[in-house]
């Protein structure tokens, strides 16, 4: 056994060891916690229980949280804000975004013009690492990672979100009890 240098114990340390103060202190602390948890009090931060009863009590997720993606819509017209510029798809390191645009003819100032509008938007959440680079790339604040965090599905196909899911949000079963 390699020898280690330890300081010579003083008498008070020796006595402490003899009366097992080290063990008793530890036991005292756990007992304090036990009582603190029952009375929900703690000397340091004022509460005894630190866990959240998750499905019953929903956690409050930070506003900046990168969760489920969403395509924002204009609150008045309910048109999508997306201009099909494809910047998000370019910014994504994982290539999980597919922006499918179509050309439509619109009349601007009496003249027919071609305009690119969003047709379909595919977002593969199974490959996404929620880095938010796409959100930062979007010029119109259309693509946003929301506070929604329950993304589990029963199939791989369920991870691929289309435009409707991105706009309306996916239906999730919320277990509350």
């Amino acid at each position: 056994m390699p020898l280690v240098k330890t300081p010579k114990p003083t008498w008070s340390q020796k006595l402490k060891r003899f009366f097992m103060i080290d063990l008793i202190k530890g036991l005292g602390l756990t007992l304090k916690y036990n009582i603190g948890a029952i009375t929900d009090k703690d000397s340091v931060a004022g509460k005894g229980i630190y866990t959240e009863q998750y499905p019953k009590v929903r956690p409050d997720v930070a506003p900046r949280f990168h969760g489920a993606p969403r395509l924002n819509m204009d609150p008045e017209t309910h048109d999508t804000l997306c201009i099909a510029c494809n910047l998000c798809a370019i910014a994504c390191p994982e290539d999980c975004i597919d922006v499918i645009a179509m050309d439509v003819e619109i009349i601007v100032a009496g003249k027919p013009r071609r305009k690119k509008v969003l047709d379909e938007f595919i977002f593969d959440t199974s490959r996404c690492m929620f880095c938010a680079l796409c959100q930062e790339a979007c010029p119109t604040a259309c693509l946003e990672l929301t506070q929604e965090f329950e993304l589990a599905t029963y199939s791989r196909a369920g991870f691929v979100w289309n435009r409707e899911m991105l706009e309306q949000g996916r239906e999730t079963v919320k277990y509350t009890s």
Partner: protein, 435 residues
């Protein structure tokens, strides 16, 4: 008397089919056994619940909360889950031994309950006159289950776990038996009911005479049960799950139940021998007032409370202390516990001798009678208690002296401190010698 009503009705009913003898010697014991096994199984199940709750509280969380109010139905849900799980037997395992090992574990743990006096009168299933010996003997059969389980699984982790458990149990069995002898000197009987009676007639708990014995018994009991900080056979961070690595489903839960049942057994024995069993001051007044059954039930509750307190100590230690290493465990067993137990026996003998010798010295009266156990007067008790508590320190000091040269003892010194250096900034590398 109300309580005995249905009993009488049942007795009458049974009389139609059997003779009174068969009923007394066969049917009633069976009913008793069935009742006790059910209750003990429930108790064990709720011991797991309690452990989970207590550990949760110690860790600033809530523990099981989902099944039933405050998660009270959790043990039942667990049992159902384990029953429906696949009972997996590894391909290369020794099938039959693998099959039966859990049953040996459970049986050995449950048989012991037959001699545990839960209370006076009808709360004892069998008052065997060698009760304590039976407890020690049967609980040591439990180790066989662990070895067999470890061996038959054909897994290296299980094997190591089995080996560890056999070594551990063999060495701690000795300490456990020896530590009880001190208390037996006062009780002068091996019958567990007799030990309770001795404490009752003396109106004292033996823990006061034998604090060192109690501690030794508890420590070796914890080790015997493979509980933390001595849970080496199943140390999950080293041996995955030790001897039951390969077990799953109900068979695994049998081991689990055996562990908890063994824990309850050791607590029950500790409560019986050192904490007066079901005896509690003034409860006997119920008996003299004529409420016999109430007396039995209150005594039973007293016993349960005592056992629960010791169980709490079990949980408390487990969730506070780190785990010993294998060689340290052996060190503690052979170098500390067994010598301590031997010294404790010697000290108890000296104490008894001293108290007897002092009887009559300068008109001092220390002994009331020697009919049953050692009935002492208040002075005698005082002397005995003083010697008992002094004994703890005498033993500790002696052993510290004996073990002083032991490598392990010297390693376990007090905390060290580390140096704090404020290194210069921007200086690429600093050599060791410079600081």
């Amino acid at each position: 008397m109300l309580l005995l009503g249905p009993v009488n009705v049942l007795n009458d009913l049974l009389l139609r089919f059997f003779s009174q003898e068969t009923i007394n010697f066969f049917i009633w014991p069976l009913i008793q056994i069935g009742l006790v096994v059910t209750l003990v199984a429930l108790w064990v199940a709720y011991a797991t619940y309690l452990e989970r709750k207590i550990s949760a509280f110690m860790q600033a969380r809530l523990g099981p909360m989902r099944v039933g109010p405050w998660g009270l139905l959790q043990p039942i849900a667990d049992g159902l889950k384990l029953l429906t799980k696949e009972d997996f037997i590894p391909e290369k395992a020794d099938r039959w031994i693998f099959f039966f090992a859990p049953y040996i574990a459970v049986a050995s743990a449950f048989i012991v309950f037959s001699v545990v006096p839960f209370g006076p009168d009808w709360a004892v299933i069998a008052d065997v006159n060698i009760g304590l010996l039976l407890v020690l003997a049967v609980s040591s059969v439990g180790v066989l289950a662990l070895i067999l389980a470890g061996w038959s699984s054909n897994s290296k982790y299980a094997l190591l776990g089995g080996l560890r458990s056999s070594a551990q149990m063999v060495s701690y069995e000795v300490a456990m038996g020896l530590s009880l002898i001190g208390a037996l000197m006062f009780a002068r009987t091996l019958s567990l009911s007799g030990i309770v009676g001795a404490q009752g007639s003396d109106s004292i708990w033996f823990i006061l005479y034998q604090p060192a014995g109690f501690m030794l018994f508890l420590i070796s009991g914890i080790a015997e049960n493979n509980r933390a900080p001595f849970d080496l056979p199943e140390a999950e961070s080293e041996l995955v799950a030790g001897f039951h690595t390969e077990y799953s489903g109900m068979r695994w839960s049998l081991f689990f139940m055996a562990e908890y049942a063994a824990m309850v057994v050791v607590s029950a024995v500790a409560a019986t021998v050192y904490l007066g069993g079901w005896y509690f001051p003034f409860v006997y007044r119920l008996e003299t007032a004529g409420y016999h059954n109430l007396y039995v039930i209150v005594s039973l509750l007293v016993f349960l409370v005592k056992v629960s307190i010791i169980l709490y100590i079990y949980f408390w230690l487990r969730w506070t202390l780190p785990r010993f290493r294998y060689d340290q465990l052996m060190d503690i067993g052979w170098k500390w516990l067994i010598p301590s137990a031997l010294i404790n026996i010697a000290l108890s003998a000296i104490a008894i001798f001293l108290v007897q010798a002092l009887n009559g010295y300068r008109g001092m009266r220390t002994i009331e009678s020697l009919d049953r156990g050692l009935n002492l007067t208040a002075t005698g008790k005082g002397i005995m208690i003083v010697i008992g508590f002094a004994g703890v320190f005498i033993i500790a000091a002696l052993l510290a002296r004996i073990n002083w040269r032991s490598r392990d003892f010297n390693l376990k010194t007090q905390r060290r401190n580390i140096r704090l250096v404020n290194l210069p900034k921007g200086k690429p590398a600093v050599s060791v010698s410079e600081v």
